[in-house]
Symmetry: C2
Subunit: 295 residues, 2 copies
């Protein structure tokens, strides 16, 4: 496999910055050229040593890179990949870190065209309570899962290089079809976020919200921690993964209706059985290798 010498990083936030820091730690002599629309963030990234030099555009970040990392919101992906396509070297490989993948695959096919085989869609399952390059750390992905969603035309060496880069950052890499990825994350991530936002939204809308929240205990805090996530990011995810999310909302609604019916009818035994099955499944979940409060 070709050795990475130069990485072009578009977007120097928490995820992009942490990946760059991890790549630099893993590869002696590797240089990162970064671009961000936020000029102040870009300067901080240099000051923090997360990147080595700045670029004035996505094209400039891509121009001399072996690996181009598009660490931007999915809504910016089309514009970024369009610019990258104009400038990327023939041998370069491109990857992203978006939370939804079927839409990214479509955008990459449209923007990278004959180079779409050099694009490896990726989703690192990691995050922190805080965002921004100030929170970036080379350790963010240690023990974290990363899902890569190659398509039929994805070049095998491109997939191998991106896999190897993530493994060098300490991540455990899995591959899945993009649709399958989106379906899985609709169930275990996007749906819980919507439910948590909806619960807090409902309570916050009441005249007696302050009184209610005064008695919120640890259970409420755990359940609603993800309702403090970025509204912009989660709006995007809901829009980008709409079909799968709607299907999950309906499955959840049907199950919740069963719970409601059991409560309404006073059928304690049936309710307890469902709760016991849920508890067994929750308890069987392996402990998290690290705190990853958002994904």
């Amino acid at each position: 496999m070709r050795r990475l010498r130069t990485v072009g990083l578009v977007g120097v936030g928490l995820i992009g910055g942490s990946f760059a820091a991890a790549l630099k730690r893993a590869g002696a002599g590797l240089r990162v050229r970064g671009f961000d629309r936020d000029a102040a963030a870009l300067e901080r990234a240099v000051a923090l040593g997360v990147i080595d030099e700045t670029a004035g555009s996505p094209s400039e970040a891509a121009r001399t890179a072996d690996l181009i990392v598009a660490a931007v919101p999915v809504r910016a992906m089309g514009s970024v990949l369009h610019d990258v396509a104009l400038a990327m070297p023939a041998h370069a490989i491109v990857t992203d870190v978006g939370s939804t993948k079927a839409d990214v695959v479509r955008i990459a096919a449209a923007e990278l065209r004959e180079r779409a085989g050099r694009f490896v869609p990726g989703h690192p399952i990691a995050g922190r309570e805080t965002s921004g390059v100030e929170s970036a750390t080379a350790d963010l992905f240690r023990g974290a899962r990363v899902v890569l969603t190659p398509v039929a035309e994805t070049a095998a060496p491109a997939l191998a290089l991106v896999r190897s880069a993530w493994e060098g950052a300490g991540a455990r890499v899995a591959t899945a079809a993009a649709d399958e990825h989106d379906r899985v994350f609709a169930a275990v991530s996007h749906l819980p976020h919507i439910l948590s936002f909806a619960l807090v939204s409902e309570i916050a809308s009441r005249a007696d919200a302050a009184e209610l929240l005064e008695f919120a205990g640890g259970g409420f805090r755990d359940f609603t921690r993800i309702a403090a996530s970025s509204p912009e990011m989660w709006r995007d995810i809901a829009m980008q993964n709409r079909e799968a999310l709607l299907a999950e909302l309906d499955r959840f609604g049907a199950r919740l209706a069963v719970f409601r019916e059991l409560i309404d009818k006073g059928e304690g035994a049936g309710l307890e059985r469902l709760m016991a099955e849920a508890r067994a499944a929750r308890q069987a979940l392996a402990p998290a290798t690290r705190r990853a409060p958002s994904e």
Copy 2:
């Protein structure tokens, strides 16, 4: 106020044991006589110094007590208060630690009859991941909220004594009507538990549950932590607070339908606005003074 010399503790689990330990620490010379249906737990409570001596029945625990603490599930409350009523000294005061209060008020009126004014219904908002007297600690209630729900006939000195006992354990005491308590906790505790159980129940019921759960990140773990709570306890709470919980389920369902509609229609701006309001409310929540994973 009369000084507490002897406490009769019925139920030596985490809550009862911790309250006894806190009372003993606060009051030099105070003795606790405990009863539990689980003879082994009772012996461990003595060995751990949580109680001073054992009783063979709730009546025997109550017979010489200034304060009787019924730290048993609400479903056992009728039987325990029936026994306590037969034996309690005329001056004694009785309290409980149940998670629902309107039903406990009704049970106390029926069982304690002319002594119902000496009963002070209480609900400490505290818990731990673990249960049982082995986990009991005099610090469990330090900084925790306790809600007392006196009725019209509750004797003022009885209320004052129970308040003072909880404050001696480090708790912050509030009072509320029992119905109001049940309405508040239906919203901020019972509903989230049902939603969390329902989500895990739905996912666990699928053929591909293992694959889905393999990709569960920190958000899912936070959201579902309360789905590992006791099915027996939460079955009881759902049954005991059925009316208020059903009302909360319906309010939540209506709000979730709004979220679903916005997602279905692709109305990102409206969705983001609701999410932003929820985030602001969640962020305004004061940090927990301690971890209280269940209530």
